[in-house]
Amino acid sequence: MGKLVKRLMLDDIHAIGRNESWFSDMAKKGLHLKKFGRLFIHFEKGKPKETNYRIDIIMKKPSQEQLEVYRDCGWDIVANNGNFYIFSADKMSFSTELHTDPIEQGFSLSELNKRLKNNLIIISIAMLLFFGMMFSLFFFNEEPFLFMIMGSFVQQLLLVVVECYVFYSAIRNYVAIRSLKKSLLQGRTINHNENYRKARLTSGILAGIFLPLALVTIFIPFVQITKSKDYTLPEGNTNLPIIKLADIEQNPKLMREKSYYSKNVDMANRVRYSWSLLAPVQYEIDEHGIIDGELWGDKSGEYSPSITTRYYKLTFGSLAENITFDLISRYVFRDDTEIKEINSSELDKLYIAEDTISKQIFAAKDNQVFYVAYYGNGEIEDIIPLVEEKLNSCEE
């Protein structure tokens, strides 16, 4: 047996004449069809030969007897996939054409035609539902931009593209068979030497766009999972983009207040790092502290300030402002909380929101967005310079 050579299928197998013509040309170059699938087609290397190929659509698996009759007429079965059977015959030695009656051949396509039509209807409905779902996910979302940079948005978007390709294929299959059937029923025989180059080129370009996209779609979640990690916030100085409690409290008696551990991570003092295509650096960091001997102003217990920092480095700086607004919408819960814009020479955007229990800062600079929620006695005016400094240093 000669060496097997793999080629991309590219063209639609339903385009019968075109594929037959291509197979014949390949055989002329010494590449003889061995098997075919949805994506790939295998040729065996051998001597160049003048070979005729016929793709026959047989809905009921042919019997041994049937294949013998085909063989006696010079047609050997070379490959089969589903209802598609490919026969070959030496150009010199076959006794009759495989199909001698185009109208009968047209009739034989009725079942497949119906099946492809139903298939197309089902896919259309699924597409409608799918698009509706995607549409509502994005447009009925309170914070669409935050949604975009988190989790699986890009992947979902790519999925839409891939779905479109599936849809396009279903249409293409149906149209190919329907027009083939129509032309056969009008008594026109299949052109076994149809030009295939243009169709293969167009399909090749489309596949070249969609196949890598499909692969990316599959791999993004893996990247997301392997890149994301949770760990306990180290005590002392770090390079992390956060404001530390110690910087605000300025009290040597400040101790870390530990909480329950999950998978060896202190949940009250946790760094969560994640990745997405639109925001390749994302941090969500919690820190809890306690000052021994000091009480909250209302004497409700020992003074235990805490801070949550969120930091996003975005792929596109143009998203920064919208992300800032979405963060405000998500984290300022109370309607009566006043949101103030502060002019800052260091930052592009700076908003603060202060109520009785929390002090929140929302900041954007270039492609970075920063959010701090602080629960403690420190003054918001003292935190702002820390934010400015942090965003400047992170940029470097």
């Binding site: 016929r54 026959d56 047989i58 809905m59 009921k60 042919p62 019997s63 041994q64 007897e65 049937q66 013998e68 009759v69 085909y70 006696d72 007429c73 047609w75 006794s95 009759t96 054409e97 495989l98 199909h99 001698t100 009656d101 109208i103 009968e104 051949q105 009739f107 034989s108 009725s110």
Partner: protein
Amino acid sequence: MSYTGSPMTEAMYYILLALMNPNHGYQLMSIIEQVSKGRIKMGPGTLYGVLTRLQKDELIVILNDDGRRKTYAVTEDGRTALKAEYMRLKDMIQDGILVEERL
């Protein structure tokens, strides 16, 4: 799609005709070639396409299947259809007699 009495294709007509005597698919092609005096050389794809369709429409049945070869025969419905088509063709020939006179 069941047969509704519309004009038959040549392939369908000759296969029904040949199956007036039960036979294997294998021999049908040569019989049809003989009967048509070499005019019709039916391709194997067409032959089995028609056999499948006729079977579905119950115009023919498998009389015997020994695992290696199937024997087909025309059914009563098939006979009726064939007869109706024969009459139609006969009428067509008679109606067209003018052709022989004038051409």
